[in-house]
Structures are given as structure tokens and as C-alpha cells.
Amino acid sequence: MSDIASRVKAIIVEKLGVDESEVTPEASFTNDLGADSLDTVELIMEFEKEFNVAIPDDQAETIGTVGQAVAYLEKNVKA
């Protein structure tokens, strides 16, 4: 697992109170991990803080699964 993926996973476990094993790349924040609309906004904000990036709203709306979050961040975070 990449460094970004493991940090994303840690944030999701912390914020959504889910077990690490549930945080698979296919897992949807709302359908599989019990997030509501406010949780989802908070997750995006946590990613922004952790990786020091700004995720515009129209981009944030395309991030619905763990895998999509990791892919977005791997593309947009400066190493």
C-alpha cells in the first residue's frame, strides 16, 4: 500500500469509526462505511489538511469511494 493510501485509510478509520478491514478500495463512504453527507464533507476537509491540498467542490463530488480518494490524492499531491 502506498503511503498516501495508508494515510487515507487512517483518516477514514478515525473519522468514521470503522474497522480497518472495511476500508477497501471499492468501499463507498456512504453506502458501505456509514457516512452521511456531513461526514463526507468532513472527510474531504481532513484529506485537504493531511495532504496540504485544496480539493475544489466539483472535484470533491467525484470522490465517493476509498479508491477514488486515493487516486485523486496520488495525482494531485506533490511528492
Binding site: K15, L16, G17, L38, E42, M45, E48, K49
Partner: protein, 417 residues
């Protein structure tokens, strides 16, 4: 139209002197102080370094980590004391008409800690508004009854009353009135407050409202003592289940007492100072008596607002003198804030519980920390200083007065068929 009768069928308490009703009551009758140096933040630069904090409350253990994070302490406390009350009342909501069960809750401020944290976080940034999406729904004062209704599926009337330190007396009165009018079968009512943080202590310190007896926190809350120097901040929650009598009897509920009256008034005098002659306080006590169809001769115990401030305590004694006449010499008066500190928006709830249990047990909890008589007070008045007293308590009245000049007073009576 004839009013319906309203009874108390369940209690829950999370206080600085006990995390259950029985712990709370034992501490009350044994004169235990809940004051100690503040543990939840660094008090080094604060004028007041102590308060009556809730002790040993494990929010994550109670709610789970995910849920606890989304709730301000004032809501965590509300859910905790309500769980005890629901259990105590033997409620099985699957068997009850939940569209006729409401929640009316009191909180003076709401989520002050959440507000503080989020604004500090914003101030540390570059001006970009990165507020947490839970900021507003965690903070707003009405979210406590919202969460209680969600947890138990209660679809009756649901809101918060905000009248500073009279808030939960107002919630009790509102619930009482809707039940009397037949608008619901049952209310979960009471109040909660959690302001022991930098903003709460700093804010009340700026008003010179708090005791600064840092060399002896346990005796700092000393209502009616000559050397009282301000109130001691408290926190916690109290839940009271009020139920229409017929509904309670039908389900075989345990009945603690009957709620028989509520009065409301305003000082119309000053933002924070009470009326010097206790005009609003006198009016509210008379209004509650009239509402209950009682006279001063019926009252055995007054659980006073009695916050231990230099100007607050005398005006309340003037008010009782005015409202009760010579009966003042025959009643017991006590300020349980001498033990719990001042729970602000939750004070009315935990003091109503003290009054209800005084009726049930025929014991008056004391006003502790009395050292020196204040010559301003008639020595023939029984303030129940330092030790609990036994007496038959048929009727107890509990007062709450709030910044803004809000006054609300409630009356409970031994239940008789």
C-alpha cells in the same frame, strides 16, 4: 376545560457530585462539595481556577468514538442522564404512542466548547473559512432534544428553552402545560450545560460573577454566608420524565411526585443584575403558587436559586419574605448549589430532582459551607445550614433566575390519588 394532572415517573442525573440519581442524592444529603481545581484546561492565567466538573464521565465508552466526536459535551450529558431516566421510568417505546411523547430541553448556552474550538481554529488560519461541517449542528442549543428524539424515536413536540439559568425550569413548565392541556402523553424534559472551558470561565470571570476563592475551592460556593464572593461554575444534566396521570396509571408507572404549578416572570431591570428588591423573583413565586392553587402555608421547602453571589442572595430572601410573609419562618430553605455549583441551564433540572427527592424521602438537603452569619438575613429563617434536616415535605418549590431577568419557579407535591 379541566386540566389533566401531571406526575413525575422517571429521573436521571449527571452532576458534579454524582453520575446517577442515587449517587447525586446521597451526596446531597451528606453535604458533599463537587468543587475542585479545573482539570479540563490550563487555568494558570485565569482568575478562577476551580469549578464543579462532572467526574469520571466516559463519553466514548457511553456513545462510541464516532458518535461522541459529533456531539458537544452538553449533548453527551443530555443523552447520558436521559438514558438513566428512561430506564428508571420503565419505558418501552415500542409499546407507546411515540407521536404523543415529546422532548423539551433547557440549555442556557448550548455548545460553547464547539464554538470556541471552531473559532480558534479559524483564527489560526489564513482567513480561509475551513469550518467543520459539524460546527453548527454540534453547537446549536436545540440539538440536545433533537438527538434524544432520534435515539428513542419520539415524534411529539420537540424544542429547547433558552432563558439562561432559568432554562430548565422553563422546559419543565412548558412540558407541564402541554400535558395539562392534553397535547401529549409524556415529555422527556430537563436540561444540560457544559461551559467549563476557557470561554465559559473567562467570560463569567470578566463579569466578576465567579468566586475566586482559589485557596479553598470546596468551600467557595457558600450561599447566604457573609463571605460569599460569587458563584461556582458547574456542569451536567438532569432528566425528568413528566407524564399525564392517566397514562402513568394505565402503564403501572412508579410515581415520584406530582407537578402542580409553574410560574414565570421577568425583572425588566438590568441585563445581569437582579432587581434589588426581588420584584421579579417575588412575582414568580406568587405566580407559581397561584398556578398550583396553593398558598404559602402549603409550602414546606424552597430550593432557592441561591447562587452565592453578593447581590443575588439578598434579593431572593427579600422576594421570599414578600411572597411568603411570616410563613418564611416555618419553611426550610436550601441552596443545593452550595454542593453542585451552578449548573446554569441545567440548574433547574437538577434542583427539581433534589426537590422531588426531598418530597419522596422527607429530607431537606442542606446549604453547606456556612461559616459566618450575614446580618442582612433574619436569623429566624431556616436556611438548612450545613446539615440535612428531616421533615415531612408535602410541597416543594424550586426557583430559577437567569441573566436577562428571566424568572421561572416550579412546584411539586407528594402524589395522592
Amino acid at each position: 376545560m379541566e386540566f389533566k394532572r401531571v406526575v413525575v415517573t422517571g429521573l436521571g442525573a449527571l452532576t458534579p457530585i454524582g453520575n446517577t440519581v442515587s449517587e447525586y442524592w446521597n451526596s446531597l444529603i451528606n453535604g458533599v462539595s463537587g468543587a475542585a481545581f479545573i482539570k479540563s484546561f490550563d487555568v494558570e492565567k485565569f482568575k478562577t481556577k476551580f469549578a464543579c466538573e462532572v467526574k469520571g464521565f466516559d463519553a466514548e465508552g457511553f456513545l462510541g468514538r464516532k458518535e461522541a466526536r459529533k456531539l458537544d459535551p452538553f449533548v453527551q450529558y443530555a443523552l447520558f442522564s436521559t438514558e438513566e431516566a428512561v430506564k428508571d421510568a420503565g419505558l418501552d417505546f415500542e409499546k407507546l404512542d411515540t407521536s404523543r411523547i415529546g422532548v423539551i430541553w433547557g440549555s442556557g448556552i448550548g455548545g460553547l466548547k464547539t464554538f470556541l474550538d471552531e473559532v480558534v481554529n479559524f483564527a489560526k488560519g489564513d482567513g480561509t473559512p475551513k469550518f467543520n461541517p459539524f460546527f453548527i449542528p454540534k453547537m446549536i442549543a436545540d440539538i440536545a432534544p433533537g438527538h434524544i428524539s432520534i435515539k428513542y424515536g419520539l415524534r411529539g413536540p420537540n424544542f429547547t428553552t433558552v432563558s439562561a439559568c432559568a432554562s430548565s425550569n422553563n422546559s419543565l413548565i412548558d412540558a407541564f402545560n402541554y400535558l395539562r392541556l392534553g397535547k401529549a402523553n409524556m415529555f422527556i424534559t430537563g436540561g444540560s450545560e457544559a461551559i467549563i472551558n476557557e470561554a465559559g470561565i473567562g467570560g463569567f470571570n470578566a463579569m466578576h460573577a465567579l468566586s475566586t476563592r482559589n485557596d479553598d475551592p470546596a468551600t467557595a460556593s457558600r450561599p447566604f454566608d457573609l463571605d460569599r464572593d460569587g458563584f461556582v461554575a458547574g456542569e451536567g444534566a438532569g432528566t425528568i420524565i413528566l407524564e399525564e396521570l392517566g397514562h402513568a396509571l394505565k402503564r403501572g408507572a412508579k410515581i415520584y411526585a406530582e407537578m402542580v404549578g409553574g410560574g414565570m416572570s421577568a425583572d425588566a431591570y438590568h441585563m445581569t443584575a437582579p432587581h434589588p428588591e426581588g420584584l421579579g423573583a417575588s412575582l414568580v413565586m406568587k405566580a407559581a403558587l397561584e398556578d398550583a392553587g396553593l398558598t404559602p402555608a402549603d409550602i414546606d421547602y424552597v430550593n432557592v436559586h441561591g447562587t452565592s453571589t453578593p447581590i443575588g442572595d439578598p434579593q431572593e430572601v427579600k422576594a421570599i419574605t414578600d411572597a411568603f410573609g411570616d410563613r418564611i419562618y416555618d419553611i426550610n430553605i436550601s441552596s443545593t448549589k452550595s454542593m453542585t455549583g451552578h449548573l446554569l441551564g441545567a440548574a433547574g433540572a437538577v434542583e427539581a430532582i433534589a426537590s422531588i427527592l426531598a418530597i419522596q424521602n422527607d429530607i431537606i438537603p442542606p446549604t453547606i459551607n456556612h461559616f459566618t452569619d450575614d446580618p442582612a438575613f433574619d436569623p429566624k429563617i431556616n436556611f438548612t445550614f450545613n446539615k440535612a434536616q428531616k421533615r415531612v415535605v408535602n410541597v416543594a418549590q424550586s426557583n430559577g433566575f437567569g441573566f436577562g431577568g428571566h424568572n421561572a419557579s416550579v412546584i411539586f407535591k407528594k402524589y395522592q390519588q
